[in-house]
């Protein structure tokens, strides 16, 4: 194999990647921005300040905050119990945590409809308690939580596994309480992985379409998240509106991506220091 051949191979591969990224990513992004601004800034601003658009943004943020908040707590608990304790059924739990990654979001949505909808035995109790889940905001939040819950625990588990349980045991021998042990010993270890998981979870929560679509009922101004609202506008041939809201979602995604890179860089630097 000559050096020259290597050079040809290298540049061919780079070209393929560049063309691929351009067609799959750059072009659509340009297209989104161009279409959003097709009728001028005025129309763009109007589309974004539309009441329904603002409500959709609000709901997306709300669902994302709920999902990230609950999944952070759940993720830490799950990762902690899987890595620090030995018990029967541990394998099952760690397999189940990954389920949302393999189940299609539409099916996830349907599962919740079956669980909380009219056919369910729970329905009467929920109705009596005045709680509506299907075609209501709680349903949207529930769906978002479901599709995003593996992200945080999956980031933390490998870090905790690599660390072992020695330091916690040392602290426990000194008489430290569980919460002190978590705060002083465990948390500093998982800090970066946790933040990274939060970022991934946020990105996924903002963009979720399938499961939310099944549970929301598409009530404009009530249960429409940004992705659902975009689809609605698009189906109604309001391209300026659809792409204007899309551009907003893209901006949010880019911010999250930037955060991700920063976190990855910082986390890596710190773990290098460890060696």
């Amino acid at each position: 194999m000559g050096r020259k051949n290597d050079g040809v191979l290298k540049w061919t591969l780079i070209a393929i990647c560049a063309i691929f990224l351009f067609i799959m990513l750059i072009l659509p992004l340009i297209y989104i921005v161009a279409t959003a601004l097709r009728e001028g800034f005025g129309a763009y601003a109007a589309a974004l300040s539309d009441e329904y658009a603002r409500k959709a943004v609000g709901l997306t943020i709300k669902a994302t905050l709920w999902a990230v908040g609950l999944n952070t707590v759940f993720g830490i608990c799950a990762a902690w119990c899987i890595t620090k304790f030995n018990f029967k059924g541990k394998k099952i739990i760690s397999t189940l945590i990954d389920l949302p990654l393999t189940v299609s979001p539409i099916i996830a949505g349907l599962i919740f409809v079956l669980t909380f909808g009219r056919q369910s035995f729970l329905y009467d109790y929920l109705k009596a308690a005045g709680i509506s889940i299907i075609f209501a905001v709680p349903g949207v939040i529930l769906a978002t939580i479901f599709v995003t819950f593996p992200y945080i625990s999956r980031e933390i588990i490998p870090v905790l596994n690599a660390q072992g349980t020695d330091e916690e045991e040392a602290a426990a021998l000194m008489g430290a309480k569980t919460f002190t042990i978590f705060r002083k010993v465990t948390f500093p270890h998982i800090k970066w992985a946790l933040l990274y998981g939060v970022v991934l979870c946020t990105a996924r929560a903002m963009g979720e379409f399938g499961a939310v679509s099944v549970l929301s009922g598409h009530l404009r101004g009530k249960t429409n998240t940004m992705p659902l609202y975009i689809e609605l506008l698009y189906q109604g041939y309001d391209f300026t509106g659809a792409f204007a809201v899309s551009s907003l979602l893209v901006i949010m995604a880019v911010i999250v991506l930037a955060l991700r890179s920063i976190l990855e860089y910082k986390g890596k630097k710190e773990s290098e220091q460890d060696r």
Partner: protein
Amino acid sequence: MADTVQNYVELHDINKNYGDFQASHQINFGIEKGKLVALLGPSGSGKTTILRMIAGLETPDSGEIKIDGQVVNHIPANKRGIGFVFQSYALFRYMTVYDNIAMGLQIQKVPKQQIKERVTELLDLVSLKGLENRYPNQLSGGQRQRVAFARAIAPNPQLLLLDEPFAAIDAKVRQELRSWLKEMIGKLGITSIFVTHDQDEAMEVADEIILTNRGRIEQIGSPSEIYTYPKTAFTASFFGQNAQLEGYQAFHTFGDVPGADKALIRPEFVKVYKLDEKQQYPESASIGTVEQISFRGDRTELQINVNGLLITAKRNLGESPIAVGEQVKVFLYRIFVLKGEEVILLENEAVNSNYFNI
């Protein structure tokens, strides 16, 4: 082990299973106050398990653990007055040296000023002054071990447990740290148990050795006792630089042990003479050929073939040199004859005209 002596730590009939694997089997021993004791045995023989049960990090399935005369089975680990040095030290990676040492005192809510005094005193004791603001990853292996030691003794424990305290340290520094630790523990007068798989380490550092094998205790005794008078086949083969000898009867003037399997000899049991050298018991020496000579600094080590049996012997530098291929006279003072689990010490009858069973 006598009941008349007040033991500081006592284990009575301790058993411990992990699933269907028996990690500890009928463990019994007692440790006098102020003693430095080694739990010695091959890897996987259950040393760490015993140490962790004493600390309260594991619970025995049956049996009693007593510390200072009190049964501690149901006393939580942090109330047993124990300092523990973990095998990999388990220093808190995200805390400075100072905070590592201070942590135990902080948890006990000791006043800040007092903590400061104690930590300063300990930093001085383990010669780590000036490094209090470093993080563990900025220290050498030996320094980390000293931090772990200081951290363990900071709250003034009555009992110090150390799991393989030298395993993670370069061979060069290890020697130095062994004497350091022995001296330090002697100075503090704290009852200590340390785990090791290294016989030299145990013999050099410990007042007493507890030898473990497959979850059981093989023998307990002082280093010289356990080395010179092994009571089981395992103990005999664990210590020293043993060579196995099938058919020891080929050598002259050893009594016969009915049903014996094989014999062990240690280099110090062997004396080598050149053919023209004078020797004390000429009639009981065998003739062998030197196959290999290794230089060991203060002495040479010889591999000698005697009628097909390979024997290791040592020769001091002062003695006249021997060459490879040379014929020599080999005299064995004594051998360990193994018979099942038993070991029988046989003295050469030329020296001591009867053999005895121990």
